[in-house]
């Protein structure tokens, strides 16, 4: 073997091992008269010296805890613990059943997620709390055996208990009285022991209470929850997990206050109530509704009135001061009830209680409560009221309250589905009046302080700020391009910013250098004045109460990059909320970025929303674990510095954002939600003639993706996680029946009906292997096609199926009986997918994704071998065309396209030789603010064509305006 000629890299590497003074001679020796090679190595050596001297790095090292966490998921072992079974995953970590190889004892091990551990303070608390929990010796608390960390991963080892959770037990209905008493006693006993050690559970709920094989209680997660930011465990979105937790949380916890032992007693009361009544004390269809119920509602008086139920209600007092003074007291009460004795305390309290008005409006309950003598015994507490100001399933967003809180303006699409207009209503009677009109979206209203005028952003004529009388009238353009106008409190100015982005539901924005500028303009019109022109980016101005300063999200340094990761570096001081005088002068950094960072809230969503005047501070809605809640950051009016910890105001699993505050510290905000459903549009598919309006075919709390329709248009399938895993559902459109047709434990994605509708081929992923399954609809038989990782369309006789290969770029066809697979299409650089047979089996339509473009082709089938690229016919040339589907007669192709800037459904007619004929025809435009095909994450978008309808998935955003008082 002859040694290969050294290349530049070899020489570079070898030269680096020599002292610098010897390198020249080395190159002379080895490059001979190859001047080019010599020059290359020499230049690279120079650049290397520079890189070394200045420490240049190519980024890409991910944060270590995240990697370690990933490693833990794939590891079979952590320290001496052999991981045996995955038990579950929460917001805070993963739990395994494990074997302690030292003792041979089964244990449960909880590995904390890096998110929890990223914050040093959090980690310390976690470890301290776990150590404290180790000290508690109580028969009803799952014991913490040890804590530790390996490779930066913190873990806690708990005793492993066989049994089931109380949550599972409660699915069977209420407990009998002796059981309820026994379980309640044991929980209270555990709480008593923990509280004596100064440990608060914070997240007591049926899912955390295990009944072992003897029916005895073991409470999980004791003390560990203490380490976690109050509501983190409930901020789980989509899975619905959170809905369960909210209803057991004490009102003060829901408000973000520090929990006390009394908070645990509230949770205890909710658990006891549920054991007796057979249903949760606080329920609701949405997180906000549950929360509202916890904050203001009274549990319904279900079942026989009993002293145990009285005890539950005592624990469920909204005011912590009115609950039992300790867990020990609860034990004493249970003991008395057991003995049949009389509890003076219970009698006394409930004789004085106002009649139960379980379902009255919360305001009324408060009013009645206020006249009872109780409030005068303990210091009166102002309970925040939470009121919904708009209703309906549409999109109501961007609230603006007038200074006196009497009027509400907001953007809504209720008048004209799809287009946002400004509406105004009195807060007290709530009759909405439409103020603006036209085909363009209007958004971000702001009231003048006298309540007479409303400034807003409109997309009309290229976008700008407009003003309209609150009483109605013509809208007048104030200035071009501006976004999010805000009247100054003295009414003289309107502040706004100019930037490059379009409307975004959550207004998550990020101040990249050069992308945003901030202005003020006289409210009556005039010339805009740029504020802080020296900033690299300045956006989202908010007025301070003196009308002389603006607080804004700014980036002072044009060189500093803003990756999300940068926000987590406290040193990134040039990005902050800044306060600037409008008359000129330097801007002062508030320190908000550092404060948010300390709370784990530094994120791309740290947009300041409004100033609260009474208690000086700023409202915002940072993102935490996929949900956004309202927070309040205190900012001192003396030095414009953040003067305390940010406080949480709302808790939920959706998006609470766009806060607007009044002079008396009420806050309006939008609670926003997005869902993904299957829709259909009636059409004569051969004629490309739409014959009616779109219709929603699915609708519940869950997302429904990958829709497919049978050729006769009578049945649909879709993938949904309703049951926990991603399964394939079949729905009969006439009868409405639905059933699961996939086989567990697979996770199901796209599916395809056989032409006669008797079978469905679907892509399933099982044990990380992707395969195709065919489900027979007549006899539920399942066939596995492991030769195919993913399916495409069927041949007309149902005997062949298109396959998308493992290497993505290859499309093949499989003979279902013989399982013989023949390659059809391939390309060296393009990704080919979504193959579909034409109705006559003569052609295959597919899309090819090539750097930045997705294009639709059809190719003629031949008897043998790959179809050469020269035979392909390009059907589209759009920037992004996707998902080709044939009309039943094979003379048109339907597809999704982003050719007009939105993602819409289009069709292309084909002539006899299958060449495109004419220009594409729009079939369904999804240009609405509320409903869109664009907000769907790309992998999930799907479309299917039958003779009489097209079925597709579309996301729908909805939202309503709420009002609460802050302090």
């Amino acid at each position: 073997m002859t040694p290969r000629q050294p290349d530049a890299e070899d020489l570079f590497t070898q030269a680096l091992e020599l002292p610098p003074e010897d390198r020249r001679a080395f190159l002379d020796r080895h490059c001979g008269n190859d001047a080019q090679l010599r020059g290359e190595v020499k230049s690279l050596l120079r650049w290397h010296e520079l890189a070394d001297a200045e420490n240049w790095e190519i980024p890409g090292e991910p944060d270590k805890p995240a990697l370690a966490y990933i490693r833990a998921r794939t590891l079979k072992r952590v320290g001496p613990f052999e991981l045996q079974e995955f038990l579950g995953e929460g917001a805070t970590g993963i739990v395994y059943r494990a074997l302690d190889t030292r003792s041979g004892r089964p244990v449960a091990i909880k590995i904390a997620s890096p998110k929890t551990m990223a914050d040093h303070a959090n980690r310390e608390r976690f470890e301290r709390a776990a150590k404290a929990a180790m000290r508690i010796e109580n028969a009803h608390i799952a014991r913490v055996l040890e804590t530790g960390s390996i490779e930066g991963l913190s873990y806690v080892v708990l005793e492993y208990i066989e049994g089931r959770t109380l949550a599972e037990a409660l699915k069977e209905g209420a407990c009998d009285r002796p059981t309820a008493t026994r379980v309640a006693w044991q929980i209270a006993d555990a709480l008593d022991a923990a509280h004596r050690h100064g440990i608060i559970h914070r997240d007591l709920k049926p899912a955390n209470i295990i009944l072992d094989r003897n029916g005895d209680v073991k409470i999980l997660d004791f003390g560990l929850c203490h380490a976690l930011a109050g509501a983190e465990s409930i901020a789980r979105t989509r899975t619905g997990v959170a809905l369960g937790t909210l209803g057991y949380m004490a009102p003060e916890q829901a408000r973000g206050e520090t929990p006390t032992p009394q908070s645990d007693l509230f949770s205890f009361g909710a658990v006891l109530y549920e054991m007796l009544a057979g249903q949760p004390a606080f329920r609701g269809e949405t997180p906000v509704a549950i929360l509202s119920s916890v904050l203001h509602g009274q549990p319904q008086g279900l079942g026989a009135r009993s002293r145990l139920m009285d005890l539950a209600r005592w624990c469920l007092e909204k005011d912590p001061g009115r609950r039992p003074p300790s867990a020990a007291r609860v034990l004493a009460e249970i003991a008395r009830i057991e003995k049949g004795g009389t509890s003076i305390a219970l009698r006394f309290r409930y004789l004085l209680r106002p009649p139960s008005r379980a379902l009255t409006a919360s305001g009324l309950v408060l009013a009645v409560a206020a006249v009872t003598p109780f409030l005068f015994r303990s210091p009166p507490t102002r309970v925040p009221s939470l009121t919904r100001l708009t209703s309906g399933s549409g999109l109501n967003m961007s609230p603006a309250l007038s200074r006196d809180g009497a009027m509400l303006a907001y953007a809504s699409d209720r008048g004209d589905e799809g287009t946002l207009h400004i509406w105004v209503q009195r807060v007290s009677d709530g009759q909405p009046v439409q103020l603006t009109d036209g085909p363009a979206n209007d958004d971000s209203p702001s009231f003048s302080p006298d309540g007479r005028e409303i400034a807003f952003r409109s997309e009309r004529d290229g976008g700008g700020i407009y003003v309209v009388q609150a009483a109605g009238g013509e809208s007048k353009r104030l200035v071009a391009l501006g976004r999010r106008p805000k009247y100054s409190p003295n009414g003289r100015w309107i502040a706004y910013w100019v930037g490059t982005d379009a409307a975004d539901l959550t207004q998550n924005r990020f101040p990249a250098p050069g992308l945003s500028k901030m202005y003020i303009i006289p409210a009556g019109g005039g010339s805009p004045v740029q504020i802080q022109p020296g900033f690299a980016a300045a956006s989202y101005p908010v007025w301070t109460p003196d009308s002389a300063h603006l607080l804004f999200l700014g980036n002072a340094d044009s060189k500093l990059l803003y990756e999300p990761a940068d926000l987590h570096q406290p040193g990134a001081a040039s990005l902050d909320w800044w306060v600037t005088p409008i008359q000129g002068g330097p801007a002062i950094p508030t320190g908000a970025n550092a404060a948010l960072h300390a709370m784990g809230l530094a994120s791309i969503s740290q947009v300041p929303q409004d100033w609260t005047s009474g208690k000086s501070g700023v409202l915002m809605s940072p993102e935490l674990n996929g949900a956004q809640s309202l927070w309040w950051v205190p900012v001192s009016p003396k030095d414009w510095k953040v003067s305390g910890s940010p406080q949480r105001l709302t808790v939920g699993t959706t998006i609470d954002a766009q806060a607007s505050s009044t002079a008396d510290e009420r806050v309006g905000f939008a609670s926003l939600h997005a869902s993904l459903d299957v829709w259909s549009i009636p059409i004569d598919a051969d004629r490309v003639a739409v014959s009616g309006a779109i219709e929603r075919l699915t609708g519940d709390l869950f997302d429904h993706s990958y829709p497919e329709v049978s050729r006769d248009g009578r049945k649909i399938t879709y993938s949904s996680q309703r049951s926990g895993t991603r399964e394939l559902w079949l729905k009969d459109l006439a009868g409405g029946e639905e059933k699961i047709i996939s086989v567990p434990p697979s996770s199901v994605f796209a599916s395809y009906f056989a032409p006669d509708g008797s079978r469905v081929a679907y892509r399933a992923i099982e044990n990380h292997v992707s395969k195709v399954r065919i489900a027979s609809l007549s006899d539920s038989a399942q066939e596995t096609i492991s030769e195919c990782p993913a399916a495409g369309g069927w041949s007309s006789d149902g005997k062949r199926l298109l396959c998308v290969g493992a290497d993505e770029a290859r499309i093949s066809v499989i003979e279902l009986r013989s399982r013989q697979r023949k390659p059809l299409l391939n390309h060296s650089t393009w990704t080919l997918w979504q193959p579909y047979f034409s109705p006559d089996d003569g052609w295959v339509a597919f899309n090819a994704t090539l750097a930045g473009r997705s294009r639709i082709f059809i190719a003629p089938l031949r008897s043998e071998g790959l179809i050469p690229e020269s035979d392909w016919i390009a059907i589209t040339d759009g920037v992004w065309d996707d998902i080709p589907r044939w009309s039943p007669d094979g003379n048109s192709l339907y597809f999704m396209s982003e050719r007009d800037g939105y993602r819409c459904i289009w069709a292309q007619r084909l002539d006899a030789s299958k060449q495109p004929s004419g220009t594409p025809i729009p079939v369904f435009h999804a240009h609405e603010a509320r409903r869109s095909l664009l907000n769907i994450q790309a992998g999930v978008v799907e479309m299917s064509v039958a003779q009489d309808k097209i079925v597709f998935n579309m996301s729908e955003q909805s939202g309503n305006i709420w009002m609460m008082s802050v302090h």
């Binding site: 990933i70 999300p564 664009l934």
Partner: protein, 177 residues
């Protein structure tokens, strides 16, 4: 390139879907965020896949390594698409950093991709390494495992690629000749 790279795991198709999905949502959500952290996306995708489907990915470095290539394609496609649409959107930018000076060298995804393509033609391994590290966030150790090379070799490739890339991307200032 190790042999196992050719024998692609069928679940890669799902990984691709998931990455595309996450990237799409990420890029839409932060349309004005001009600098993206691809490694975060790759890891997010990985975590989501493993939690959503209870998939226990057996070979992490293989998955992350493949994801790096996919992510590069997604980001480059995204950048091309934005350019093609001529929307007034900022290009996706990517930063090389220096720890010593508070300075970064910014280039857009397309420029980096083009540079990597040039590097690939002559120096395949260093180019692959940059892809793994930059787009996939693989550590040195994982890169070595994925590429089937020793850590020392990976270190050498890195040193070389860094000098090469700094030169090709224009660098902060030319070094003295």
């Amino acid at each position: 390139m190790p042999a196992k790279f050719g024998a692609a795991d069928p679940a890669m198709a799902e990984l691709y879907d998931e990455l595309r999905r996450i990237a799409a949502s990420y890029l839409r959500r932060e349309r004005s965020s001009h600098t993206l952290q691809p490694t975060a996306l790759v890891h997010e995708a990985y975590l989501r896949l493993s939690s959503l489907n209870r998939v226990q990915w057996a070979d992490r470095s293989l998955v992350l390594g493949l994801a790096a290539g996919i992510m590069r394609r997604i980001l480059v496609n995204h950048a091309r698409r934005k350019a093609a649409l001529k929307r007034a959107l900022p290009p996706l930018e990517i930063a090389l950093r220096t720890a010593k000076k508070a300075e970064s060298q910014i280039c857009d995804a397309l420029t980096l991709d083009a540079a990597l393509r040039r590097m690939e033609r002559r120096y395949a391994d260093p180019a692959k390494l940059i892809e793994l590290r930059f787009f996939g966030g693989l550590t040195e150790e994982e890169s070595a495992e994925f590429m089937g090379l020793s850590r020392a070799t990976v270190q050498r490739h890195y040193t070389f690629a860094r000098a090469w890339l700094l030169r090709e991307l224009g660098g902060p200032a030319k070094p003295a000749a």
